[in-house]
C-alpha cells in the first residue's frame, strides 16, 4: 500500500561538501506518487509532442504525462487539444493506438462518442430501446466531456498542464530556454522518426544525467575521442531563473585546446583515446547550420523534456514514467522541411549518435540502471553533488554539477521537502 500523502514529510540535509540527495528518492513509492500529484499533475508544463506530428485535422497521438495517459489531437479548426485518455462513462482507455486520424473518439466499451473538442456527442440507447432502459432525464451530455488540459505551443513544440494556475508557458520556460527552442525550431521541421527505450531506473536519474556536464566527456568515449565534446572546450552550464531547466552548451572558440592540454586533463582516463580511427569519417562531416557556431546544446526542460542539438542531430527526448524503477525515453528526431538531400543524409548518418543504441547515448541508459541497482537499499544514504562548488549557480564552463542541484532544489520545492544546509 502507498503511504497516505498526509504523512509525506521529508527533510534533506546538505553539508559544506556539497548537496546531498537521499537514495530513497529513487526507490520509494511515496516519492513517486507525490511526484505524480505535485510535479506531473501539478504546477508545471509537460511536453506532449510536436505540431509536425499532427499535420492534419483529426490527427492524434497517445502519450502520457508522468504516468497519466493523454491524447494530443488537432481539432476541426486546426487547434491543438490535449485530453486525458479516459472515457467519461466508466473510465475505459479511449484511444489505444499510438497515433492515427479520426473524425471522433469512439469508446470501444459502450460506443460513447466524443468530438475532437472533447465534447460528448453520442450515447447509444440514450432514450432506451422499445420504451425500456435509457438514461435518466437528468442526464446532461454537456457534463460528460473529456477532461481537457491546458495547452500552449512554442514554435510547434506542444506543452500541456493539468494546472489552471501555473504561469503562462513563456514565463515557465524563461528567456534563455525560449531562445533555445526558437533557435532550433526556427522554421518548419520534418519528422525523421521515433525511438523508444525502456529504462530500468528512476526517471530522475535521467533528469540528473541530462543536467550533468561533468559526465559528458568521461562516460562517453566517442565524444572525447572524436572531439565532439571535451571538457577543455569552452562551454556554459546555465539554468533559467527558477533553476528548473538547464542549458548546457559548447560554444565555438578561437583557441581550441592543444593535444598536450587534453592529454593532461584526461591522463589515466579510459575515455580519451586518440589512437582510434574511423573507416568512414563521414559520420562526423556535418554542416554548420547555426550562426552562433554552437555544435552541442543539451536543454533539459522540467519535468519531462530534453531538447538537443548534437552536431546536426536535432531531437526531443520525452520521459514517460511507469514506476519508481521504470521509465521510457521517447526520442523524436527531426530535420527541417527544406533540408536538401545531402543534409538529410548527414542527419541519417549522425542519427547513429543517439537513441537506445546511440554512440553517445547508449551509456546513459547503463549509467541510470547501475545507480538504480546499487541504491535499492540504504535509502537514507546520500549521493554527493559537489563538482563546481556544490551550489546551483550559472557558470561559464562545464566542469560542474550545478544544474542537477537546481533540479533538486525545485524538486524539494514542489514536493514540500525541507532542505537544511549544515555549516
Amino acid at each position: 500500500m502507498n503511504a497516505p500523502m498526509e504523512s509525506f514529510e521529508q527533510r534533506w540535509t546538505s553539508s559544506p561538501e556539497g548537496f546531498r540527495v537521499p537514495y530513497e528518492v529513487f526507490t520509494d513509492r511515496a516519492y513517486y506518487d507525490k511526484e505524480q500529484e505535485k510535479i506531473f499533475r501539478g504546477e508545471t508544463w509537460s511536453f506532449v509532442g510536436l505540431e509536425a506530428e499532427l499535420p492534419n485535422k483529426g490527427d492524434f497521438k497517445a502519450t502520457a504525462i508522468g504516468d497519466t495517459p493523454v491524447i494530443v489531437t488537432r481539432d476541426q479548426v486546426g487547434q491543438i487539444r490535449v485530453f486525458k485518455n479516459r472515457c467519461a462513462h466508466r473510465g475505459a482507455l479511449l484511444v489505444r493506438e499510438p497515433r492515427g486520424n479520426v473524425k471522433s473518439f469512439d469508446c470501444v466499451y459502450h460506443q460513447w462518442s466524443f468530438d475532437l473538442t472533447g465534447a460528448l456527442r453520442g450515447v447509444p440507447m440514450r432514450r432506451g430501446v422499445r420504451g425500456q432502459g435509457g438514461m435518466p432525464p437528468e442526464f446532461d451530455m454537456a457534463n460528460f466531456g473529456l477532461d481537457a488540459l491546458r495547452v500552449e505551443s512554442l514554435n510547434g513544440v506542444i506543452f500541456a498542464s493539468f494546472s489552471s494556475t501555473v504561469e503562462p508557458l513563456l514565463d515557465y520556460l524563461g528567456e534563455e530556454v525560449v531562445d533555445t527552442i526558437q533557435r532550433i525550431f526556427n522554421r518548419p521541421i520534418r519528422i525523421m522518426g521515433d525511438q523508444r527505450q525502456y529504462v530500468h531506473g528512476n526517471w530522475k536519474l535521467y533528469a540528473e544525467n541530462t543536467r550533468d556536464p561533468y559526465h559528458g566527456s568521461l562516460l562517453h568515449l566517442f565524444h572525447n575521442t572524436f572531439g565532439l565534446y571535451r571538457a577543455t572546450q569552452a562551454g556554459v552550464s546555465h539554468m533559467d531563473a527558477s533553476k528548473r531547466h538547464s542549458i548546457l552548451k559548447v560554444v565555438a572558440t578561437a583557441t581550441p585546446a592543444s593535444e598536450s592540454e587534453n592529454k593532461e586533463v584526461y591522463k589515466d582516463v579510459r575515455s580519451y583515446n586518440t589512437d582510434f580511427h574511423l573507416q568512414d569519417p563521414s559520420i562526423l562531416a556535418g554542416r554548420k547550420e547555426f550562426d552562433d557556431g554552437s555544435t552541442l546544446i543539451i536543454n533539459a526542460i522540467f519535468p519531462n523534456l530534453l531538447l538537443q542539438q548534437i552536431a546536426n542531430t536535432l531531437a526531443v527526448r520525452q520521459s514517460v514514467t511507469y514506476a519508481p524503477d521504470a521509465f521510457e525515453i521517447v526520442w523524436t528526431l527531426f530535420g527541417y522541411a527544406d533540408d536538401d538531400e545531402e543534409m538529410q543524409m548527414i542527419r541519417m548518418k549522425q542519427s547513429n549518435l543517439i537513441g537506445p543504441a546511440g554512440l553517445i547515448s547508449m551509456e546513459d541508459g547503463e549509467a541510470v540502471e547501475i545507480v538504480q541497482e546499487a541504491v535499492v537499499r540504504d535509502g537514507k544514504k546520500t549521493s554527493l553533488l559537489a563538482m563546481g562548488g556544490g551550489r546551483a549557480e550559472n557558470v561559464e564552463h562545464m566542469i560542474t554539477e550545478a544544474p542537477i542541484i537546481g533540479f533538486w532544489e525545485n524538486y524539494c520545492r514542489y514536493l514540500g521537502i525541507t532542505q537544511v544546509r549544515v555549516a
Binding site: 499510438p98 519528422i191 525523421m192 522518426g193 521515433d194 525511438q195 523508444r196 527505450q197 525502456y198 529504462v199 530500468h200 562516460l219 568515449l221 566517442f222 575521442t225 579510459r270 583515446n273 582510434f276 574511423l278 573507416q279 568512414d280 559520420i283 521510457e328 528526431l333 538529410q344 541519417m348 548518418k349 542519427s351 547513429n352 537513441g355 537506445p356 543504441a357 554512440l359 547508449m362 551509456e363 541508459g365 547503463e366 540502471e369 547501475i370
Partner: protein
C-alpha cells in the same frame, strides 16, 4: 522472377544465415561484419513503427561498408567496459526468397532474439523480420553467399533496454 534457386545457391544462403546467427550469438563482431560483402554493403536496423510510418530513422544506420567495420570497433573498442555484457540466441525462419538478378536474391526471414544479461534471467529481446539482398560469389560448389544489404525490421515498439549488438 520464376527462376529457380539452385541447390548450391540455396545451401550457400543457408550457410550465410547460420554464420550471421553464430557470429552474434558468440558476440563475435568481426565475424558479423564478415557476412557482408567486402566492397559495398549496408546494414540497417529499424523499428517496425518507423518502417510502417515510412520514416527513415533507424536504430543503426550503416549505409556503407566502412561504417559496418566502424560498428565492430564501436562495440569492441569504444564501448568496451561501458555496457553490461549480455548474450543472445537468434532464431530465424525463412519466409520468402526470390531471384533479384544474376547471382542475387531477395529474401525475408522472421527472427526472434533471446537475451541473457550477465547474471540475469533470459527474456525475449525482440522479434522481427530480416529483409535481405544477398549476393552469390564464386561458382558451383565453391560459391559463397554474402549480404549486400540486410534490413532488420524489429517488432518491439519499446525496446526493453539499451542496445549494443546489432540484431
Amino acid at each position: 522472377m520464376s527462376q529457380a534457386v539452385t541447390a548450391a545457391h540455396a545451401s550457400a544462403i543457408e550457410a550465410l544465415h547460420t554464420a550471421y546467427l553464430a557470429a552474434l550469438d558468440k558476440g563475435d563482431m568481426a565475424a558479423w561484419a564478415a557476412t557482408f560483402a567486402s566492397n559495398e554493403a549496408s546494414y540497417f536496423c529499424i523499428s517496425a513503427e518507423n518502417d510502417r510510418r515510412g520514416l527513415p530513422l533507424a536504430l543503426m544506420y550503416d549505409d556503407c561498408r566502412g561504417r559496418i567495420d566502424d560498428r565492430v570497433s564501436f562495440v569492441t573498442k569504444v564501448w568496451a567496459g561501458t555496457y553490461q555484457p549480455y548474450r543472445t540466441r537468434h532464431f530465424i525462419q525463412q519466409l520468402s526468397m526470390n531471384v533479384a538478378g544474376a547471382n542475387q536474391y531477395r529474401a525475408t526471414s522472421g527472427f526472434m532474439i533471446m537475451m541473457t544479461p550477465e547474471g540475469g534471467a533470459t527474456t525475449i529481446l525482440t522479434s522481427g523480420e530480416y529483409r535481405d539482398l544477398i549476393d552469390i560469389q564464386g561458382e558451383g560448389d565453391q560459391c559463397r553467399a554474402v549480404f549486400r544489404e540486410r534490413r532488420t525490421v524489429y517488432d518491439a515498439d519499446v525496446l526493453p533496454r539499451y542496445i549494443v549488438f546489432p540484431f
